[in-house]
């Protein structure tokens, strides 16, 4: 079973802010930008049911003081969103160990970055705007892959 979890920040995200102001200065019409880690876990059947609860209680990828945790059921990025992967990096094989702790029942984990772009008037940015942001800043195609 595959479980996808998005870990965002509740505290100000300097990296997203810098990316936002850079894109705006370069003429990309967006009003907001949010960044999150996207974890895709391949789970053993025995671990599937309690996995999200387990992640909430382990201090590994999620800290309730500063993170949001959202279970994603979609296999593609949402409207206004792009996923950035770096092939060859961010993939952990069993036994999957994060911050020194083994995640039981996880056979494989892959991490990518999710960027959510907002239109100036609110709501998700158009695919065209997302593509432009990807081309200008969010992805170096020499070693990264963008999924819109």
């Amino acid at each position: 079973m595959i479980q996808t979890i998005e870990i965002g920040l509740t505290i100000p995200d300097n990296e997203a802010y810098t990316a936002l102001t850079t894109l705006q200065r370069l003429g990309v019409e967006i009003g907001g930008l949010r960044r999150a880690d996207l974890w895709r876990f391949e789970l053993a059947a025995s671990a599937a049911e309690s996995f999200v609860d387990h992640v909430r209680t382990l201090e590994t990828i999620y800290n309730p003081n500063k993170h949001t945790l959202r279970v994603r059921h979609d296999e593609r990025p949402a409207c206004g969103e792009v996923w950035i992967d770096e092939p060859g990096h961010g993939v952990l094989e069993s036994p999957v160990r994060i911050s020194g702790r083994v995640l039981p029942g996880v056979e494989r984990a892959a991490r990518s970055v999710s960027w959510h772009l907002q239109a100036p008037e609110g709501g998700p940015a158009s695919a065209e705007v997302v593509r432009r942001a990807v081309e200008i800043l969010l992805c170096n195609p020499a070693f990264q892959k963008a999924t819109i």
Partner: protein, 265 residues
């Protein structure tokens, strides 16, 4: 010997740059009239220089990717103009990452999009600080900054990075190789490239990339950190012990800055 009358080099700093002082010292020891210029300087000020050096560090905290934000900084517009006009540009470590993110090297087709990048080290993706040697892997005159170096010069340097592995698709790598963009490769002390000599898994063992026109050089390891005998990681340092002049004498990595100065004479 100094550079031609009025030839001035700007060492450019962004928020997060941290190697400007040793870079300025190495430039001056190599014979370059060097000035520190911050990212807040006016375009007119930046345009007034004859050459640019982008030192190492973590410009803009490596936000988004190493070098990505700095590559789009207003300051880089003047550097881009200067490079197009034939001014010499040297990027070291984070400066090299910035040049690749800005598309100024390898610059295979004049596009401003990055065609290659220095990304996470392999194996393990970890930061490494280690002494290295690099060999000039192109004809010296292919790159203006290396033109005064003897053929196949081996320079000592320190690799100090978490993202120093050259990455590009196979077609780009082939084009870079066939058009002599691979300026420096990691090697052992004798100049032989071995897997052990490559600290980061870089494609083809590449440590430095030159642009199409030969006036922009992106070099990952730091020659300015092995530019005096006391910085050497070999027997020469022990041999010089007790001899103040020999210990403080310029050598090793300084040769690149001397060659840079020669190009401005």
């Amino acid at each position: 010997m100094s550079t031609r009358r009025g030839a001035r080099v700007a060492v450019l700093v962004f928020p997060g740059t941290n190697s400007e002082e040793e870079t300025i010292r190495a430039c001056r020891a190599g014979g370059l009239e060097t000035h520190l210029v911050s990212w807040t300087a006016s375009a007119q000020t930046v345009r007034g220089f004859d050459a640019y050096v982008l030192p190492g560090g973590f410009a803009y905290e490596d936000r988004v990717r190493a070098g990505a934000i700095a590559a789009h900084d207003r300051l880089m517009e003047s550097v881009r103009e200067g490079a197009a006009a034939g001014k010499l540009v040297l990027g070291i470590c984070n400066g090299a990452q910035i040049l690749l993110e800005a598309g100024l090297a390898p610059d295979l087709d004049g596009s401003t999009r990055p065609q290659a990048g220095f990304t996470r080290n392999l194996p393990g993706g970890r930061y490494r600080s280690t002494h290295v040697h690099v060999r000039l892997a192109i004809a010296p005159e292919r790159c203006a900054i290396s033109a005064a170096l003897p053929s196949e010069t081996v320079l000592p340097a320190w690799a100090s990075h978490g993202e120093g592995r050259l990455a590009a698709d196979s077609r780009t790598l082939e084009a870079m190789q066939s058009h002599d963009h691979l300026a420096f490769v990691y090697c052992d002390r004798a100049g032989v490239t071995t897997p052990e000599a490559i600290p980061n898994g870089s494609a083809l063992g590449v440590a430095g990339v030159v642009n199409r026109a030969g006036n922009v050089l992106a070099l990952m390891p730091h020659p300015e950190r092995d530019a005096w005998t006391f910085m050497h990681n070999d027997a020469s340092r022990a041999k010089a012990r007790g001899d103040r002049a020999a210990t403080l004498g310029v050598s090793g990595g300084i040769a690149l800055f001397q060659s840079f100065a020669a190009a401005l004479r």
